[in-house]
């Protein structure tokens, strides 16, 4: 009796052909993109999205940059980049990304742009919502694939993909987008964050070929808004210990500044609004290191 592997076709659907077509579409869509960078962290609440939009603003000073909000269920990049509510427009077999206001080109695609209200949950139409654990993850992966392959990205120096928390997110991205140039890992200097982030790095290193460009220590200290004095928020030295353990470089440390959050809430780019603040200087230095590494 023939086995599965003896039979060369699937009866008429050509599922493998369809999957290859999807992969080819992704590849051709990104032909004008020089570098795809994943911004990841195993831990939530480390300031990954606000760092992503500000890195994008810093990188965009040298040329066009795109941001994909990979957090399908909890999109926030649309608001942070000031494009939430912008009307979407259709291109040739594609959707045009939202263009952030300002002197440089920052293109954004996020679930934020598709949702009715800012507090609308992401609900997928389905014959039944029961047993959704079996397909919701697939829908999220499918949405991420469409954001990559169906957005008219055009020419970009960098496409940043802001991934949601979870050690499985980078492998998921690699499944739909094999050509990732590198990943940046964001962490807080707390022991809990470092442990979770360390796990994510090890997973990425063990099962993927994606190079880890380095660690970014976010909220590394507190800058007094009055006198500019930098105080510690967490014990020092822990990030260096992790970096040494997992053998990845530290790209930089970004001190906590309440103005980062204020700007994010108002859809403005902190590095543009407050270029002289210590955190803005740190973010620019990280962007410069990324350019050098790539």
């Amino acid at each position: 009796m023939q086995t599965y592997h003896d039979i060369t076709h699937d009866g008429g659907s050509d599922i493998i052909g369809q999957v290859n077509d999807l992969a080819n579409r992704t590849r051709s869509r990104l032909e004008g993109v020089d570098h795809v960078i994943a911004v990841m962290s195993g831990k939530g609440g480390v300031g990954k999205s606000s760092l992503t939009v500000n890195l994008a603003a810093a990188l965009a000073e040298a040329g066009p940059v795109g941001i994909i909000d990979g957090d399908i269920n909890g999109p926030s990049v649309g608001r942070m980049a000031g494009v939430r509510g912008r009307p979407l427009q259709r291109g040739a077999l594609s959707i045009l990304p939202a263009l952030a206001s300002g002197p440089s080109v920052i293109k954004v695609m996020s679930m934020d742009l598709f949702l009715e209200g800012e507090t609308s949950p992401v609900l997928w139409d389905a014959p039944t919502q029961r047993d959704g654990y079996a397909w919701r993850g697939l829908m999220e992966a499918g949405a991420l694939r469409e954001f990559i392959s169906d957005t008219e990205w055009g020419k970009l120096n960098y496409l940043l993909v802001d991934l949601p928390p979870g050690s499985d997110k980078l492998p998921n991205l690699a499944d739909v987008l094999p050509a990732i140039s590198g990943a940046i890992v964001v962490t807080l200097p707390s022991a809990v964050s470092l442990a979770v982030v360390g796990r994510s790095i090890q997973m990425a290193k063990e099962i993927l070929d994606t190079p880890i460009l380095g660690l970014v220590e976010n909220m590394s200290g507190y800058v007094c808004p009055e006198c500019g004095h930098l105080d510690e928020l967490f014990p020092t030295g822990e990030v260096e210990r992790l970096a040494s353990e997992v053998e990845v470089p530290i790209l930089g440390s970004v001190p906590f500044d309440p103005l980062i959050s204020t700007c994010a809430d108002q859809g403005r780019f902190y590095v543009r609004e407050y270029p002289d603040r210590p955190a803005a200087a740190s973010i620019r230095a990280i962007a410069d290191k990324m350019i050098t590494l790539l």
């Binding site: 009866g11 659907s13 009307p87 077999l93 959707i95 949702l115 009715e116 397909w135 169906d150």
Partner: protein
């Protein structure tokens, strides 16, 4: 997934598809040698898994629309999105082919185009505005589905009164 006719030891070919009917697809395969037919019947979860993969059982006859899955499957999408982007649909000449070979296009179109075909009276729409943003789209979808089941093309206040008990409005 492949199907084998054990008597002929030959791979079966897809012959027809039907549905989705209450979330279930019927996909018929036949043996090219002896003509024996079998039907694969999917449950709702299996149907949704195939849909979420972005592939179509029976193969594609027309290229996919941009953001087809997101636009076709997101319940709480922005109301004006079809105005700016156009509906997710197939050209009329391909509808018959799509219906016979491509069941999941039907689901996508159900989720997108048919909603646009239900009109709302001003009074009914005003009543919907009392519902919080996050729940409004879900409620409207439920009302439109109920109207469709009754063969109606417009939601009026009397339609709302009719379905409010069922939806707890």
């Amino acid at each position: 997934m492949k199907f084998l006719c054990m008597e002929c030891d030959e791979a079966m070919s897809l012959e027809s598809t039907d549905g989705p009917e209450r979330g279930s697809m019927s996909v018929v395969f036949g043996c090219p040698s002896c003509g024996r037919k079998i039907a694969m019947l999917t449950n709702a979860m299996e149907t949704q898994v195939v849909r979420s993969l972005g592939v179509k059982i029976g193969g594609r006859t027309v290229p996919s629309e941009p953001m087809e899955m997101v636009r076709g499957s997101l319940v709480n999408r922005r109301r004006n999105i079809s105005d700016t982007l156009g509906p997710v649909e197939t050209s009329p000449q391909n509808v018959e082919l799509e219906e016979s070979k491509c069941p999941f296009t039907g689901m996508v179109n159900d989720a997108f185009d048919n909603k646009a075909s239900i009109q709302w009276s001003d009074a009914a729409r005003r009543r919907m505005e009392r519902i919080p943003d996050f729940a409004r789209q879900m409620v409207m979808k439920g009302v439109e589905d109920a109207a469709r089941e009754q063969g109606l093309h417009e939601v009026t206040e009397s339609v709302l009164d009719d379905v409010r008990g069922r939806l707890g409005m």
